[in-house]
Homo-oligomer: 335 residues x 2
DNA sequence: CTGAAAGCGCTTACAG
DNA sequence: CTGAAAGCGCTTACAG
């Protein structure tokens, strides 16, 4: 039950003023070595730690940053968070986590809270709904309140803020070219996120790589049963020899359909998915995937936010940083 | 650029005192309806919101709670967090997230921070290392500082705190009995977490169900290659007809080895794993699993913490709440 | 070298 | 009904 000791109590015990104690603990040159030592000794004895709330009030800052996550079950975002947290830890900042569950309504509530002065800055990946509706008023309200804002991952939004993204387009451009260079003829693409920004970019990369020379084979739908039908058609009718999947759902669906249709991966069908390592390497056969380096996305976002907070960037000019993906080959792309 | 307006500024604009403004905004009966209205109107116009840091200092609380997570890539913990966050949101509390990465050293640092008064209470699942070493001094220091503490998931620790767990033992007892009742003879168990609390409990459930009547078939190792060998031996030499897996790693390894050894699931081998739905239902064949209801673990932990904070529990007496698991049958246990 | 004072932004007993 | 004062726990210019 060592209830926290305050400066005032320390001062009384030492028979000096609160100011003296405070200065001594901050190694102020104003204080004599002797009293400085006395103060520090007693402070250590009582394990004194300044009340962070009081310090923050005095400094007019909070020492915390807010992170908005659309969906924490998505391991990409979970790992982004871990990158953010690691970075914050080094800088002794606290991370307040908010989960929007892909809902714009919830996102609005969160942004509303955030403008009340709970945090020094905000990292956000906007919800799918927000992207669909393209309503960004709540984000602009953060900007209006001068709360530094960094968008991560879902950055295809016209708003004056720093951004950290993933090179979605290039990842699929490269992956498609990988197959082209190996002489694969029918290359298909499956997507359950064709309607959102990152989905569009990945599809664009695929289309650019094909560049009219090869026929496109697309299976896109947000409805699982629809998507299943379309992928099945790609595999059995179009007989694609390679399939790129833009997201977890389509990836898993594709491996599933191949299994059901008795199509051997990788001998008859090469597969590349957009999923995390934890799952990719444990599928049967193990699945080649595009690694997005989520931890780096998180730490980069945090780094940019801190630079912004420390005034290292010019106001009105914004950073946009893109983290390179890598194509990790496991069994499903063996030739 | 609407920089935040303060009570003082509001007061000046209205030509009243700060106290009057504060009271008016809190619907104090001391204030005349007329001024109350004037104040509220201007407050709304300027979108006034009390500075939470100041309010917290005044109230001597922080309005935030700290959550310590061993490993956020584990979807169980990610979903626990989402349960916590949802509950916190309703109560208008902030959730500060810390990730220990299963390291006791990091956990100590976190607990040290937490004793400085950053949060009103703490929810923690201790790291594996902490469990192994059984060093809980840092947890006791939270207790010493009178910071309410709720352990979740990993609760097999002798410490005066509230706890929310999962009925690990019963889950495996029931699962094993499920097979026994169907006349399955050789029932095996695979584990990569046999050395930690929850692993031990699951194994215990299995052993109790077998109760000497049936032979045990255990494959346990923390070394992937070791575990692989042992599971393979279970499947090919012991020829188990059913296999229970205590964790993600052993579950995936088992499906993998069955595939490689050309053992058909579920006709030749029934499988039950301890993994999340997202992955379970997308494996091939889909994998029956034990659902732990992580979101409920999180919201229950939060509920207990809030009750504790509100003084609804007797000091010195602690709650222990167990969330029931359910066995979800997918393809891998079809008879 | 030390301490009194002001102030961060708020709330609330108390006086008028 | 309104406002001055004290105080939450701290920091820091300023006076002595």
């Amino acid at each position: 039950m060592k209830s926290k000791i305050t400066l005032k109590e320390l001062a009384k015990l030492l028979n000096v003023s609160v100011s003296t104690v405070s200065k001594a603990l901050h190694d102020s040159p104003e204080i004599s070595p002797k009293t400085a030592e006395r103060v520090k000794e007693l402070a250590k004895l009582h394990n004194y730690r300044p009340n962070p709330v009081a310090v923050n009030l005095k400094r007019s800052k909070t020492g915390t940053i807010g992170v908005v996550i659309p969906n924490i079950s998505n391991s990409f975002f979970a790992r982004v968070l871990s990158g953010i947290e690691a970075q914050a830890q080094e800088k002794n900042q606290q991370v307040i986590t908010y989960i929007s569950n892909e809902s714009i309504e919830r996102e609005r509530q969160i942004c509303d809270m955030l403008t009340s002065g709970l945090v020094d800055g905000v990292l956000i990946a906007v919800s799918e709904e927000t992207q669909k509706k393209q309503e960004y008023d709540h984000l602009f309200s953060l900007v209006d309140y001068d709360i530094p804002l960094v968008l991560y991952d879902r950055i295809n939004i016209d708003i004056p803020a720093d951004k950290v993204g993933v090179d979605d387009e290039k990842s699929f451009f490269d992956a498609t070219n990988y197959f082209i260079s190996r002489g694969v003829k029918n290359i298909g693409l499956a997507s359950a996120i064709h309607h959102v920004g990152i989905g569009k970019l990945r599809i664009k990369g695929y289309e650019k790589a094909l560049a009219g020379e090869n026929e496109q084979h697309l299976a896109c739908s947000t409805v699982p049963e629809e998507l299943r039908k379309k992928i099945k058609s790609l595999l059995t009718k179009d007989k694609v020899q390679a399939l790129l999947c833009t997201d977890f759902e389509s990836t898993i669906l594709a491996t599933r359909i191949a299994y059901e249709e008795n199509i051997q991966v990788p001998s008859q069908l090469k597969l590349i998915g957009y999923i995390g390592r934890e799952v990719a390497e444990f599928l049967t056969p193990s699945l080649s995937y595009i690694e997005q380096h989520p931890v780096e996305v998180g730490s980069k976002a945090m780094e940019i936010l801190n630079n912004r907070l420390e005034g290292n960037y010019k106001p009105g000019q914004f950073k946009e940083s893109i983290i390179a993906t890598s194509l990790v080959h496991l069994e499903s792309t063996k030739f």
